[in-house]
Symmetry: C2
Subunit: 313 residues, 2 copies
């Protein structure tokens, strides 16, 4: 059996990691995915962190060496015994036995911090929403699902800012694709957020130039600070969106059996919604996964530019 394909989804708290991966799980099927959140590898529980005045964004607050060790096992197709951190009460539970899936998603805060972690992934995504969007998302989630008050969450965001800046954001340089959802008019509920992708040089991206132009409801592609930035408007022309989807699917004809499953869904509290821009973003990630899988099945690894070097350019 070919080795598992490993996808990294890294970003700050409430940056949309789970929303991205949920669509991939829906398309690829639960049975072929293992999904690991590196929050489980916290070194201290919530009470200890409070005593030590440490945030979970601090590398010293996490067993990063063990994450790297476990990633290497998973990539070789080997099982791990994974620690468990319970967000409900901030304590640790019994360890869990986890086998890698054909696709293995590693989601977390510091997934690209160590070189020996970075080299494990076939595809590296970094989520980088603007702070105003991320703050809104974090308040929504932590109040509705983790039992905090708005004031708690805002104070926690302030307390974490220095670590976000020092440890989380620099990881964007290692990404094959950096994803932001932007609210150009402000105050959007999510359905019509624009997606902005920075296309790294590490992996070959599908050619979308035939669809690029300067229409406000179409794709735009431009250079910014030496990076290629693709923008997908939240209110993209539905016919154009279909044509783009068609073009991407046609480049992964070996995976067309997956087409029937829906992409682009997300939740606001318990309300299920759909975003066309999110669907296209997920499809681009899926493209990279399916292509990596095909290369691994053929006995090779995907051609990867040395992204550390590329990031330094």
């Amino acid at each position: 059996m070919p080795r598992p394909v490993i996808l990294g989804i890294v970003g700050d708290s409430a940056s949309g990691k789970t929303t991205i991966s949920r669509g991939l799980v829906r398309v690829l099927g639960e049975e072929s995915i293992a999904h690991i959140c590196t929050d489980d590898y916290h070194r201290y529980d919530r009470a200890q962190r409070a005593d030590l005045q440490l945030t979970p964004l601090n590398p010293g607050c996490n067993h990063l060496d063990i994450i790297a060790q476990h990633l290497q096992h998973l990539r070789r197709g080997e099982p791990i015994l994974k620690p468990v951190y319970r967000h409900q009460d901030g304590t640790f539970g019994p360890a869990e036995y986890v086998r890698p899936g054909r696709f293995t998603i590693i989601e977390g805060l510091l997934g690209y911090h160590l070189p020996e972690m970075r080299e494990v992934y076939d595809v590296r995504i970094f989520l980088d929403p603007p702070e105003d969007v991320r703050r809104r998302w974090k308040v929504q989630r932590d109040c509705s699902r983790r039992g905090y008050t708005t004031d708690d969450v805002l104070a926690e965001l302030d307390r974490r800012e220095a670590d976000s800046e020092q440890f989380i954001r620099p990881q964007r340089h290692y990404a094959d694709m950096t994803i932001s959802f932007l609210s150009p008019g402000g105050g959007d509920d999510g359905t019509y957020l624009d997606a902005e992708l920075i296309l790294g040089d590490g992996l070959p991206h599908p050619d979308l130039t035939p669809f690029v132009g300067d229409r406000p409801d179409g794709l735009t592609l431009r250079e910014r600070d030496g990076e290629r930035v693709l923008r997908i408007p939240g209110r993209i022309d539905p016919e154009l969106a279909s044509a783009i989807e068609e073009a991407i699917w046609s480049r992964m004809h070996f995976a067309t059996h997956l087409r029937a499953r829906r992409l682009g869904e997300f939740t606001v509290a318990t309300d299920l919604r759909r975003s066309e821009a999110l669907a296209l973003v997920q499809l681009l990630v899926l493209y990279h996964l399916v292509t990596a899988r095909a290369m691994v099945a053929l006995g090779g690894d995907r051609a990867r530019v040395d992204t550390d070097a590329a990031a330094a350019v």
Copy 2:
């Protein structure tokens, strides 16, 4: 730094594993020892085992593949994140970060079950007391320290007998040294139990033939079923015991700084006692550890006969 030396101490429940290792820890020093009990790798907690009608002696009741994986990390000098099983209430606790020590003791029920486990150890001990002695020890320990009644413990021993026979006892064939404590007259309190050692062909043992004879208070060495059996009487002549200790220490002159520390202590409930035969047994294990350490430090591994093949002879 040279890689850690790995000692296996395997045997059934209450066969004396902790008593043997406690003396080694006392001599080698807490700071240079990591001590791991493979009970932590149970797959099911106590309630689940009861539902499934499985004993912890059943290989399927333990994450043996993960034990093998962790042993390999420890031998390479790498840390592990170890699961934790709590004997007090039969549940799992938070995982623990463990670094290997210069000497790393792996103690447990099934440590030699898989070939990839067996190949990790530098020294393999198997504890094999007669059933009447082990039953007495298990009742003493489980009633005084784990909150069971005598009837509980005896019923549990009966329930485990088939698995003991099928899974635990066959592992003696992989040992470099099999250790039994015998009560020739019956009913002994432990201080004067005889020690009987089966000296495997896997490692070179120190030459004790100058001390062997047929005195009832001296060492005897004989062949039994093709195995070399060394007997150390519980009431060994104290002068002879000192001479033997001297001889063994003289063969590990690079470790004489350890001599001041006491061997041979054991507890019955909360009562601390000492056995000369236990002290000599621990010293023989120590000899193998210190010799393995010297070989590793010299850049080689200890010459080991293929004990799997030897066991098959």
